[in-house]
Amino acid sequence: MAAPNKGRRPAGAPGKPGRSLLLILIAMVALGGGMFLGGHTTPRLGIDLAGGTSITLKAVPQPGKQNAINKTNMDTAVSIIDRRVNGMGVSEAEVQTQGNDNIIVNIPKGTNSKEARDQVGTTAQLYFRQVLTEAAGSPTANPSATPSPSATPSGKSTAKSTGSATPSPTGSSTPQGRAVTDGLKADATPTPSATPTPSASSSASAADAATAAKLQKDFTALDCSSAAARTAAGKGALPTDPIVACSQDGSAKYVLGPAELSGTDVDSAKAAISQQTAAWVVNMDFTGKGSKKFQTTTTKLSKATSPQNQFAIVLDGLVQSAPSVSTTLSGSAEISGSFDQKSAQSLANVLSYGALPLTFHEETATTVSAALGGQQLEAGLIAGAIGLALVIIYLVAYYRGLAAIAILSLAVSGILTYEIMTLLGPGIGFALNLPAVCGAIVAIGITADSFIVYFERVRDEIRHGRTLRPAVERAWPRARRTILVSDFVSFLAAAVLYIVTVGKVQGFAFTLGLTTLLDVVVVFLFTKPVMTLMARTKFFSSGHPWSGLDPKRLGAKPPLRRTRSAASAPTDPKEA
């Protein structure tokens, strides 16, 4: 990039300053327009400036599974945690990976930070439970609004080596039993006693009328219309108890039997396109132990009638999907239904999460009240103002008129930075945090340094006795090279910092990298053209004492205005 670049155009040509200026003006207006159109006119503030809670989690692989930390697993974990945090009714909580093994959870102010941390900290609970009763999501809902995520679910065996499908008798004589207890009893009996399923025995014995009545009452009262209520419904229940639960989107509610399998029984799950039907399906494989349990469960379910032939996949008390089973399945299964790519992947994620060989440690948790956030933002802005003022004072004192160009360039750079940061808020979820503010302030120096390099080059040319216009053009290729090389080094540092670090550091590195890039843009498209234009004005070209380019003050020796000729031989008188 910054290899000595023998300018495309001859060094002495002024180029087209107007075009560059127009370009950068258009860029500024366009970005500004985008900002107003998007409805965001200020950058999104990070937790430390706006208030809220920020949690950093670190993935710890289970012993012996060191390579469990990979992008797929981390993304799965993020999507699960995201569901969970946003399931609390928190809006705009954001969950993202950072670096290899960290997950950052940002929860804006106004949420109970303790509850949020509890939510984030606990391990996900994934269970497979039998559906006992199913109904529309809310007590008053109309029956038509009951499509569960798997509207037409059908369990099918997949032709995998592990999976062996045994045809099962359909239309069995299982008692109809709408009542919960009946359903449980009916199921408990045909289950072979040899199976380790705890549900079978325990539920059969615990199936007393009181529990059933309570469940029935809960079920009737259950309202799945709000996210908070949905989350609350299945909370705190033991895996061995029957529960009531809502579907993920609140469109259906269920009474579910005890857990038959847990997430750890799933070996893997993937979304795929079925070869037979060309529709999206979810394939899951079970572990050895899981296969046995699943076989038992499906044998039982396939004999039941709807809705009791469905098993619900329950994550943190929410039913993700409730496919029905028609045959006995074992090692692997395929869930089909009205999936699209997204919903299939989402369900596969849920299923894999239980199998994630990862646990998460809370590394940091920061709670910032809105007042402190505001205070920090204010301090950052004051620091920036002080820094900017000092730089401007110094530039004016040293470069006089030239400082005006530097200040204008800084302003352009500032505007562009602001606009891009604002647009990146909704764009890529960039949030301005305190280190990012620091980075922006530090960047004032980097940006101004580029102007200094150029100005000094121009002054050097004037010291050679050149008049301003050729000086400006001749200085440019050399200044350009220096600026590119040093900006590249700065950018490299910022990029490395961004890639290898975690937490707030990234904000700092991001701002630093962004402003370094913008510095190059501004110097090329603004500072240089403005210098060219300025060189045409009398104030600067005549070397007004306040222009900062007075040849006398710069120590250029007469003759001051030679005609510029390529071969003006004995350039400068020297060596008295």
Binding site: G7, A11, K58, R117, H361, E362, E363, T364, A365, T367, S369, A371, Q375, Q376, A379, I382, A383, G384, G387, V391, A397, Y399, R400, L434, I441, V442, I446, D449, I452, V453, E456, R459, D460, R463, H464, R478, T482, V485, S486, V489, S490, L492, A493, V496, L497, T501, V502, G503, K504, V505, G548, R553, L554, G555, A566, A567, P570, T571, D572, K574
Partner: protein, 368 residues
């Protein structure tokens, strides 16, 4: 400006100048001394690690709340609540900062609630910053990785953009800056936090800025050096250095000013925290970086370069010519610092071919 401008002009023309390269032994010595002091300081005193490195919590009350209790009293409360040592600070704006080391993130909620009761402040007006014991280490480990990656990349880049000798010299200067910064931290006893580490990593890019500016003019100067017999490489380097001195000083000052603003606000108003940590290490590192790019990096390049056969031959020729001239009784500038030429490095009195500025035609004519 005018005064400095004139000095700048004189420096640029080489009328005045400091013999950085000639006196390099002195500055190497000084740097080695500083580095040894830094290392000894590090070995003896060690670094004061912030709470992020051992785990713990920092509670800060909002400035909107008024805490009437005395620092001592708060400290006793904090110790009672946590069972661990606590450091209590009252900040300038009336808020209180309580730092408790060694507690688990799970314990902190309880402690926070208890503190709220003791201090008579609503719990949601207390800001909590909890850090697990391995967090600081995570940050530091990543920082080391980053440091290594950056150094490798930058050496490769500089070796391509300039040459490997300059890359090595820049790397030595960089390590020198980092050592000094870490040494200052050890000796003064500033607390090392992740913020410090960020600052330290930023120095990487920044401290190289000045170095790159000098190297750039060095590269220009060195281009057709062997075609003339007036300057040796070291002399040329010294002239480059003096010629860009004003630029280096200005870029350093301008880089330091915003950091100074941050430091003032971070240290003076916010009392403590990330702004302060970043800006402090940046400030120390930038100052060290400016010093090293002038006194260490360039003289090192000159040293490396003088070992090249071509440069050795050049030096021989230059000295021979000077001796001959002296024998003839001509006045000869024997030292770059007294040479009153108009350009610091790109004149070629003998060949009078071309300047180094990529200008196609710019004959110089004979100079003397």
């Amino acid at each position: 400006m005018s005064r400095l401008g004139t000095i700048g002009a004189k420096l640029y023309r080489g009328e005045i100048g400091y013999d950085f390269v000639g006196k390099r032994k002195l500055w190497y010595g000084i740097s080695i001394l500083i580095t040894i002091t830094a290392i000894v300081g590090l070995a003896v005193r060690g670094l004061t690690m912030g709470i992020e490195f051992e785990g713990g919590a920092v509670f800060t009350t909002d400035k909107t709340t008024h805490v009437s209790a005395s620092v001592q009293q708060i400290q006793e409360d904090a110790v009672a609540a946590s069972g661990h040592d606590a450091i209590v600070q009252k900040l300038g704006d009336g808020s209180v900062r309580i730092q408790i080391a060694g507690i688990d993130t799970t314990q902190s909620d309880k402690i926070q609630a208890e503190l709220a009761k003791d201090l008579n402040v609503p719990a949601n007006k207390i800001n909590a910053d909890l850090v697990g014991p391995s967090w600081g280490e995570t940050v530091a480990n990543k920082a080391w990785t980053g440091l290594a990656v950056f150094m490798v990349l930058v050496v490769i880049y500089l070796a391509i953009a300039f040459e490997w000798r300059m890359a090595i010299a820049a790397l030595i200067a960089l390590i020198h800056d980092l050592t000094i910064t870490v040494g200052v931290y050890a000796l003064v006893g500033f607390e090392v936090t992740p913020g410090t580490v960020i600052g330290l990593l930023t120095i990487l890019g920044y401290s190289l800025y000045d170095t790159v500016v000098v190297f750039d003019s060095l590269k220009e100067g060195g281009k057709d050096l062997t075609k003339q017999t007036r300057w040796t490489y070291s002399e040329m380097a010294n002239r480059s250095l003096n010629g860009t001195l004003v630029r280096s000083i200005n870029t350093t000052i301008v880089a330091l000013l915003p950091v100074a603003g941050l430091l003032f606000i971070g240290g003076g108003v916010l009392g403590a925290g990330m702004i302060n940590d970043i800006s402090l290490s940046l400030f120390v590192g930038l100052a060290a970086g400016a010093y090293s790019s002038i006194f260490i990096a360039t003289p090192l390049v000159a040293d490396f370069k003088e070992r090249e056969p071509a440069m050795k031959a050049l030096k021989k020729r230059v000295l021979a010519k000077r001796a001959a001239a002296a024998a003839k009784g001509e006045t000869v500038e024997d030292d770059s610092s007294t040479a009153g030429d108009d350009e610091p490095f790109d004149d070629e009195p003998e060949t009078a071919v071309v300047g180094q500025r990529q200008q196609p035609v710019r004959g110089r004519g004979k100079r003397r």
